[in-house]
């Protein structure tokens, strides 16, 4: 192992340093600027921080693997890939929130600061090579999000969602920690690499303490990726949280948990693959099916997207179960695709939503497409992509996941996955049909477009199309990122 004892190597956490400096600068600026209107410009400090961090992390791509902080964090292509993904998600969330915060007169300073801290927690989670760091990254991200979910204090739903997220989040952290403790007891280390080595050397495979620890870890991660049966918090929290934050959670938290899951399970517990793959196999089927079937019955767009996001976690789990080079590459590619198309869908939701949680029902979307063709077309693209209709990126993502599963011999899983995506076409299509083919019952107030939101829509649209039409570049990047597992 390449641990350089005694070195701290600040460069390794460069992206995080930039994010934290920007977040602290935001806090100070929030105090200094007294004028309410000028404070709306604070978002640009956050965006600048994200852009700076993007530049720093892009420069880390392709470098040699380097450990820092006594082997607690690592820079490899895997971590850089996820860093870039989280920064894109965080940046788009900031831009999406600009008008949202302004309209509802939320205090902008803390909102943007917490978003940056949550992004930073995700980045740390993707980078950690020690269970302690995974836990700390997870908590940095969770504690920031507990606050953000309940940020609209005048909203009954928001406060309730925040309580539920907090109680279940803390509860799941308990499981994760107990799992870590048992793993530490069984192998004598919390370092991922040393855990893997200890299992191989001492022949611990059948050890009950190790198996119990692994089960508890799976439970803890299962909560974070909303795997059935640990999904019950997701619809409530996603519905109650401010819409941009819902979008952020549905892509960011999920991707961060998958990054840690891959590092822990595919990276250092491959010897126990038979056991955890069986659990995830079942989890994946339940997650897809429950997510899609329940989404059919939803009338609230945010709740529908919440169930859709549960279903997508199920598809991604297929890739994790399949494993190997193709499976893991497919997982990374899918997470990237999902981030952009889902954030795009949420950007449309944010654009249409009005103050006091109005215009969030599916019926409110009637006639939106004929009034605002561009917005309707954008939503159609995101919905088709989520449904997996070619040539959009969602189709390519599903295609790679399913073909990896077939290649590794999980035929049953693939069939269930394909059937599930057929079911999902119905509720995604319904949104589009509603927007273009149904006349509204009352005259609708037009949607006001805010420049920041338009930028988000354009970015999401561009990548959703481009990643579907020219997937090879992104697949190459994903393949480069997973070399550490091979």
């Amino acid at each position: 192992m390449g641990i350089e004892a005694g070195t701290v190597m600040l460069g390794i956490i460069g992206p995080e340093v930039v994010l934290v400096v920007a977040a602290l600068g935001l806090m100070v600026a929030d105090i200094i600027i007294k004028d309410e209107r000028e404070r709306q410009f604070l978002v640009w400090i956050g965006v600048a921080g994200i852009l700076g961090s993007l530049a720093v992390s892009a420069s880390l791509w392709g470098r040699e693997v380097a450990y820092g902080f006594y082997g607690m964090v690592v820079v490899d292509n895997f971590s850089t890939f996820f860093t870039l993904l989280f920064l894109v998600a965080g940046g788009l969330t900031l831009l999406m929130s600009h008008r949202y915060v302004q309209e509802r007169k939320l205090s902008p300073g803390e909102y943007y600061t917490l978003t940056l801290f949550a992004t930073c927690g995700m980045v740390l989670m993707g980078k950690s090579t020690d269970l302690i760091m995974i836990f700390l990254g997870l908590e940095v991200l969770s504690v920031s999000l507990y606050v953000l979910v309940g940020y609209v204090r005048g909203s009954d739903k928001g406060v309730e969602a925040s309580l539920k997220y907090f109680l279940l989040g803390a509860f799941s952290s308990g499981f994760l920690l107990y799992g870590i403790a048992l793993l530490y007891g069984a192998t004598g280390s919390t370092r991922l690499a040393e855990i893997g080595a200890a299992i191989a050397q001492k022949g611990l495979l059948g050890e009950p303490m190790l198996l119990a620890g692994m089960g508890l870890l799976l439970t803890g991660f299962g909560f974070k990726i909303a795997m059935v049966p640990f999904h019950m918090w997701a619809p409530d929290v996603y519905e109650g949280a401010p819409s941009p934050i819902t979008g952020f959670m549905s892509v960011g938290v999920k991707a961060a948990a998958f990054a840690a899951l891959l590092r822990v399970f595919a990276g250092s517990l491959p010897g126990l693959g038979i056991q955890w793959k069986e659990v995830l196999w079942l989890g994946s089927i339940l997650t897809m099916t429950l997510g899609n079937v329940t989404a059919l019955m939803q009338t609230n767009i945010k709740r529908m997207l919440a169930y859709s996001s549960i279903a997508h976690a199920g598809y991604i789990l297929i890739g994790v179960v399949a494993g190997g080079e193709t499976g893991t590459t497919a997982v990374l590619y899918y997470l990237l695709v999902y981030t952009l198309m889902n954030l795009g869908a949420f950007a449309v939701v944010v654009a249409i939503e009005q103050k006091d949680e109005k215009r969030l029902e599916l019926l409110d979307y009637a006639g939106m497409g004929t009034r605002h063709p561009a917005l309707g077309a954008a939503m159609a693209v995101f919905m088709f992509s989520l449904a997996g209709i070619p040539p959009l990126s969602g189709f390519m993502g599903k295609f790679y996941i399913f073909s990896a599963a077939v290649k590794e011999g999980y035929l049953g899983l693939t069939i269930i996955g394909v059937l599930n995506s057929l079911v999902s076409v119905y509720y995604y299509l319904r949104v589009t049909v509603m927007m273009f083919m149904k006349e509204p019952e009352a005259e609708i107030t037009p949607v006001l477009f805010h420049p920041s939101l338009v930028v988000v829509l354009i970015i999401a649209l561009f990548f959703t199309l481009q990643m579907g039409l020219f997937p090879s570049t992104y697949l190459h990047i994903a393949r480069e990122s997973i070399k550490i597992f091979l």
């Binding site: 836990f135 504690v143 204090r153 309730e160 308990g174 403790a181 530490y184 007891g185 409530d236």
Partner: protein, 100 residues
């Protein structure tokens, strides 16, 4: 002489008590206390293992857990407080605008 296994068993019992409490109790603050019990059961497990392995990592981990638990408590109690202000209740069964 108390050996490590007994500490581990105690930790497991405390953890299960915490989990059971989360499912049974309906007061948000009591649920939160049960979660804290779970975390402290983990702390005990860590210290026992750390002692028996003769490695310091586990004890360092406990400090991190305590710090994080304190941060969580600050945020969590604030959330419970703001819930009480809006709804005059902290019974989780009455917090049901969103379906569980």
């Amino acid at each position: 002489m108390v050996d490590t296994t007994q500490y581990l068993v105690l930790g497991a019992i405390l953890f299960c008590l915490g989990v059971a409490g989360v499912f049974i109790r309906r007061n948000a603050i009591v649920i939160f206390m049960c979660i804290e019990l779970m975390l402290n059961a983990v702390n005990l497990t860590f210290i026992a293992i750390s002692r028996s392995l003769g490695s310091i990592d586990g004890q360092v981990f406990v400090f991190f857990i305590m710090t994080v638990a304190a941060a969580e408590a600050a945020v969590g109690l604030a959330i419970i407080l703001s819930l009480y202000r809006r709804r005059q209740t902290i019974n989780v069964d009455e917090v049901n605008l969103l379906k569980w």
